[in-house]
C-alpha cells in the first residue's frame, strides 16, 4: 500500500538551519542593525535519521528547543529542510501533495483549529468539506470517535464554553475525521489534568489499535510516553542521542537501582551497603549499582530483621535527565 514497504516514516540525515537576525542589546546596537544586519545560523536539527514502521508509536523526547517541533513540522510539510531527506507514506512531505496531506494529521496541544463561537460539530463539517469525506463514512467515523472520546454532549456546545481538556478532545476528534494513517502529535496533553491526560492516552492507544495508525509523539509527560510508546527517540541540540526501547534506555543510562527496605531497627547504619537516599522510621532507600543489587539485598536480609524489601528501577524522568546531562557534557567537550 505504501511505497516505503515496511516503513511509514523514513528520515535520513535531516537537517534544518534557520538564519536569524542577530544584534546585541542596547540602543546603539539596535540603530546599527537598522543599517547593517548581521545574521547567525541556528542549527535547529542536524543529521537526524530514523525509520518508523507502520502502526508503530514512537515517543520523541528532548528538552525545550531540542528540535522536536522543527522535525515534526518538516515531516508534516510545514518546513522545508536545509539538508537530508525524508519520506512519509512514500511522499516527500514538504512537497505538500494532496494525497499525502489527506493521509496525515498534525495535532498541536497549544494551538487550536476549531472555530471559537460555534459547536465543534459544525467545525467538523468544515473538515468534511476540506477532506472531501463521503457523507456516510464521515458520519460513521465521527460518531465512533465522539463515542470513544466521550464527548457526545460537548460537541454541541460552543467551543468557547469548553474547558481546556474538553477542547483538546474535540480538537483531536476534528484532526482524525479523515482517518489519517500517520499522526504527528506535539504535546497533545500539555496543560491538562491527570485524568484528562489518561483519557487522551487511552484514546490514542485505541485509535492505534483499531486503525493501525503510525504515531510520532512528543510530550513532557513521561507517563504519556510510557503508556503509549515502546520505542523512544531522544534528541537534544538537534541531534539524536538515543533510539531504542524505553526499557533499554533505563538500563543504559542508569546503572543504578533503588533498594527500599523496612527494618525493625530504626537506627541502622546502612552506608556500607550503598548510598543512603533516605532513612526515616525504619524505612530506608539505598542507591546501589545494578549488578550488585541482588548481592546487597541478600546481605541485608542476612544481617537484619527485614520486614519488607523491594528493588526498583529509577523513574524514567530521572533517566532522561541523566541522558541530557550526559549530552550537555559532550557538547562542552566538543566546543
Amino acid at each position: 500500500m505504501t511505497a516505503g514497504g515496511d516503513v511509514d516514516i523514513r528520515v535520513e540525515d535531516l537537517g534544518k538551519t534557520f538564519r536569524v537576525p542577530e544584534r546585541e542589546a542596547g540602543l546603539r546596537a539596535s540603530l546599527r542593525s537598522l543599517v547593517r544586519r548581521t545574521h547567525r545560523d541556528v542549527h535547529a536539527v542536524t543529521d537526524v535519521s530514523f525509520d518508523i514502521a507502520p502502526g508503530e508509536m514512537v515517543g520523541f523526547l528532548g528538552p525545550n528547543g531540542a528540535g522536536k517541533t522543527t522535525t515534526l513540522k518538516m515531516l508534516s510539510g510545514l518546513l522545508v529542510p536545509t539538508g537530508g531527506h525524508a519520506t512519509v507514506l512514500g511522499h516527500v512531505p514538504w512537497q505538500r501533495e494532496r494525497d499525502y496531506l489527506r493521509r496525515m494529521t498534525l495535532i498541536m496541544g497549544n494551538r487550536n483549529q476549531l472555530q471559537w463561537d460555534i459547536p465543534a460539530l459544525d467545525s467538523f463539517e468544515l473538515n468534511r468539506a476540506i477532506y472531501r469525506i463521503p457523507d456516510a463514512e464521515f458520519r460513521a467515523l465521527r460518531d465512533e470517535i465522539v463515542e470513544l472520546l466521550e464527548i457526545g454532549d460537548l460537541v454541541r456546545k460552543p467551543v468557547r464554553n469548553l474547558s481546556l481538556g474538553e477542547r483538546m478532545k474535540a480538537e483531536i476528534a476534528a484532526a482524525l475525521l479523515h482517518r489519517p494513517q500517520v499522526l504527528f502529535l506535539d504535546e497533545p496533553t500539555i496543560g491538562l489534568d491527570v485524568t484528562m491526560q489518561k483519557r487522551i492516552r487511552s484514546f490514542l492507544a485505541e485509535y492505534n489499535r483499531r486503525y493501525g495508525a503510525t504515531m510520532l509523539l512528543t510530550s513532557h509527560y513521561m507517563a504519556d510516553v510510557q503508556a503509549l510508546c515502546r520505542r523512544v527517540v531522544v534528541i537534544d541540540h538537534g541531534a539524536i542521542l538515543y533510539d531504542g526501547s524505553l526499557r533499554e534506555l533505563s538500563s543504559r543510562y542508569s546503572p543504578h537501582q533503588t533498594i527500599s527496605v523496612t527494618l525493625d531497627d530504626q537506627a541502622a547504619e546502612l552506608s556500607a551497603y550503598g548510598e543512603v537516599l533516605s532513612a526515616a522510621e525504619g524505612r530506608y532507600a539505598l542507591r546501589v549499582a545494578k549488578e550488585q543489587t541482588s548481592a546487597v539485598a541478600a546481605r541485608l536480609l542476612a544481617a537484619y530483621d527485614v520486614r519488607d524489601l523491594t528493588i526498583e528501577d529509577p523513574p524514567v524522568e530521572d533517566v532522561i535527565e541523566q541522558v541530557f546531562a550526559g549530552s550537555a557534557t559532550t557538547v562542552e567537550v566538543t566546543r
Binding site: L78, V80, I118, A129
Partner: protein
C-alpha cells in the same frame, strides 16, 4: 470546481452560524450603515447646493457612485477584511500551520474562512441607493448596461481582494501589520467620489495602486452611460494581471514562511 463551491458554501454556512451567535451586531450594523449613508447624503446635498455638477457628474449620478461605494464597502467588511485579518492573526500566532496541512488550496482556504453576515447589510443598502438613483435619473438602463455593471462589480471586488491579499502577504515578513487595515480604510474613503474628479497623479494612484477606480467608478460608469467596451475590457485585463500577480506573491510568501526560499 463543484467541490470548491461546496467547500465555499460549507464555510459560508459555518461562518453564518458563527455570526448568529451575536444578534446585537445585526442592529449595530444597521445603525452604523444608516449613520454612514446619512452623513454621506448630507455631504452630497451640501456640495450640490453650490453647483449642479461635479467633474461632469450630476447629483443623481453621484448617488449611483455612492451606492456602489457602500455596496463594495459591504463586500470588503463582510468578506475581504475579516478573512485578511484572520490571516494576519494566524501568521502572528502560528495557527496558519493548520491551514497549510489541509489538502486544499491554501489561498482559497484563507479567503473564505470568515464571513461577516451583518456587515453584508451594506451590500443591500448600496443596491437600494443605486436603485433610488436610477429611478431619479429616469433615463432607462439597457440590459447590457446592467450586465456590464454586474461584471464590473465582480471585477472590482476581485481587484480589492487582490490588493488586500498583497498587503496581507507582507504579514509574512513584517509580522505586525494591523496598521494596514487603517491605511486601507483611509484610502477607501476617497472612493465615494468618482476618481475622475481627482488630479492626475492621484487618479492614477487610485486606479492602479489602490484599485478604487475599478472597484467603484467603473461599475458606476456602467449604469450612467460612461462605460465603453474598451474600458470594460481594460478592467478584465487589469484584474487578470492583478490576480496572477497576487497568486505569485502569495505563493512566494508561503515558500518564505516554510523556509523554501532562502
Amino acid at each position: 470546481m463543484a467541490t470548491r463551491d461546496r467547500l465555499a458554501m460549507t464555510y459560508l454556512r459555518v461562518a453564518a452560524l458563527n455570526e448568529l451567535q451575536y444578534r446585537v451586531n445585526f442592529f449595530l450594523s444597521i445603525v452604523q450603515s444608516l449613520v454612514a449613508v446619512g452623513t454621506a447624503l448630507v455631504v452630497l446635498a451640501l456640495v450640490f447646493s453650490h453647483t449642479d455638477s461635479l467633474g461632469g457628474w450630476s447629483s443623481d449620478e453621484l448617488l449611483v457612485v455612492m451606492g456602489v461605494y457602500v455596496l463594495i464597502g459591504g463586500v470588503i467588511r463582510s468578506i475581504i477584511q475579516p478573512n485578511m485579518q484572520q490571516l494576519m492573526e494566524d501568521v502572528e500566532e502560528g495557527t496558519l500551520d493548520y491551514v497549510l496541512t489541509k489538502p486544499a488550496d491554501a489561498q482559497l482556504l484563507v479567503s473564505i474562512r470568515r464571513f461577516g453576515l451583518w456587515q453584508a447589510v451594506d451590500v443591500l443598502v448600496g443596491l437600494l441607493l443605486v436603485g433610488i438613483a436610477l429611478i431619479r435619473l429616469d433615463t432607462g438602463v439597457a440590459v447590457w448596461s446592467v450586465l456590464a455593471f454586474v461584471l464590473a462589480l465582480v471585477l472590482g471586488g476581485l481587484d480589492v481582494y487582490c490588493f488586500w491579499l498583497l498587503l496581507t502577504s507582507s504579514a509574512f515578513v513584517l509580522t505586525r501589520v494591523n496598521f494596514l487595515v487603517e491605511l486601507f480604510d483611509g484610502m477607501y474613503q476617497a472612493g465615494r467620489w468618482p476618481v475622475t474628479i481627482y488630479p492626475g497623479w492621484l487618479r492614477i494612484g487610485f486606479t492602479f495602486l489602490v484599485p478604487l477606480a475599478f472597484a467603484v467608478t467603473v461599475p458606476a460608469s456602467a449604469l450612467t452611460g460612461r462605460l465603453s467596451g474598451w474600458l470594460l475590457l481594460g478592467a478584465v485585463v487589469f484584474t487578470a494581471v492583478l490576480f496572477a500577480l497576487t497568486r505569485y506573491v502569495w505563493s512566494r510568501s508561503l515558500r518564505r514562511y516554510s523556509g523554501a526560499s532562502a
